[in-house]
């Protein structure tokens, strides 16, 4: 699930995040479009795939953003690990789990990003960012995660059936 197609999907997601999403910014927050498929992959495919998507996706996003290269990757890796630890993929899933994972992932991603920025001297007043940016983003991500998780599930199942047929 991390072939060329995955990189293309991540690149598209990053470009959409950089161009479309700022247009729908409300109350300082906006959906983290890269975080959601990374978490969905983690919930569907496990930790390994989630980590690879997190690192590649984070690097792609950092290439066109102002944060140091690796910052988003580190935040996504932490979010993936946390989600994996909290919501193990075994057993029947509740419809709310992806949304709750999105809320937790948002908090971790933003927290790590603000921490790195504060440590490298590129941001001040992280507390205000958490209140005015992270909280609205958590709500956005909880809502947007539902269709993203559903699409990722369709993509995951078709990819798996294609591989089974290939065998």
């Amino acid at each position: 699930m991390v072939g060329y197609l995955g990189v293309v999907v991540l690149a598209i997601v990053v470009i959409v995040q950089a161009t479309v999403i700022p247009e729908i910014r409300i109350a300082g927050g906006m959906p983290d479009l890269l975080l959601l498929p990374v978490l969905a992959v983690t919930l569907l495919s496990g930790l390994n795939f989630g980590l690879v998507w997190a690192i590649i996706g984070g690097l792609l996003q950092d290439l066109i953003s102002a944060v140091p290269l690796g910052t988003t990757s580190l935040g996504l890796v932490c979010a993936v690990v946390a989600v994996h630890l909290i919501f193990d993929q075994q057993g029947p899933r509740s419809l709310l789990i992806p949304s709750v994972a999105a809320v937790a992932g948002t908090l971790i991603l933003h927290g790590v990003t603000l921490l790195v920025l504060a440590l490298t001297g590129r941001s001040q007043m992280p507390g205000q960012f958490l209140v005015y940016v992270t909280l609205p983003s958590m709500i956005y991500n909880a809502v947007v995660m539902l269709p993203v998780y559903r699409l990722s599930g369709l993509f995951y199942r078709s990819e798996r059936s294609r591989r089974v047929k290939g065998l």
Partner: protein, 274 residues
Amino acid sequence: MRRSSRLLLVVISVFLCVALIMLSVSGVLSPVQGILATPLQFLQGLANSFVTRVSNFAEGIVELQSLQQRNRELEAALAAYQSEIVELREIRSDYDRIAAFLKYTRSRENEEFLVADVIGRDISAFNRVIQINRGTRDGLREGMPVVTEDGLVGRISRVSANASQVTLITDTVSSVNARLLSSRAEGAVQGQVGGLRMTFIDLGTRVQEGDTVITSGLGGNFPEGIIIGQVTSVRQAESELFREAEVRSLNNFDRLENVMVITNFQPVDLSVFE
């Protein structure tokens, strides 16, 4: 995958990210970042251009209603301003005319004037007359001269209580005893279909284009010294005993709005000597 391998993978991932951050902050990765970012930035530029157009279009749709409302308000305001401008131009035009009249009347202190509005024009193509909104109640009588600041207009030919008819000097029945201002030569300015013509100018008189023609006062129909117009051309037929000159009035008789009646001039009736 075993738990220890997963932990190792996580540690490697975190270490990799931290290392990248440190290298990036130190600036070592800047050239590589620049190269890798180029295709993404290119695609970002294309996407951004598209999104901007779509966004502008969407904003246009959203704002359409408010713009229509705003447009109606502006159109209403524009109509009000245009109406006001027309009104102000009328006032200015009236002011200009009145100021010109005042200047004219001050130049002729011996005469008394009554300003009148033109309320009608000749509906027949054969008569050159106008109607004014002053009549016998205002003290007007037949024969009174009518002028503007640009010169002689005509004289009152018919009077009612509230209005009068003025026969213009361009009417074909009109004849005004006139004088060339420069040479003092006399003649008569007669109305023509196309304008005015001064006739009966003595052959020995030198007449030039641009000469000013004024009333001579002879005959007692008009006061002396009122400007009639300017000579535009001179001609003399070999068989004729007098010169003739085409005269152009400074008045535009088709656009007269206000005129002045000289009320203290008494036309002299010379028919008793005939």
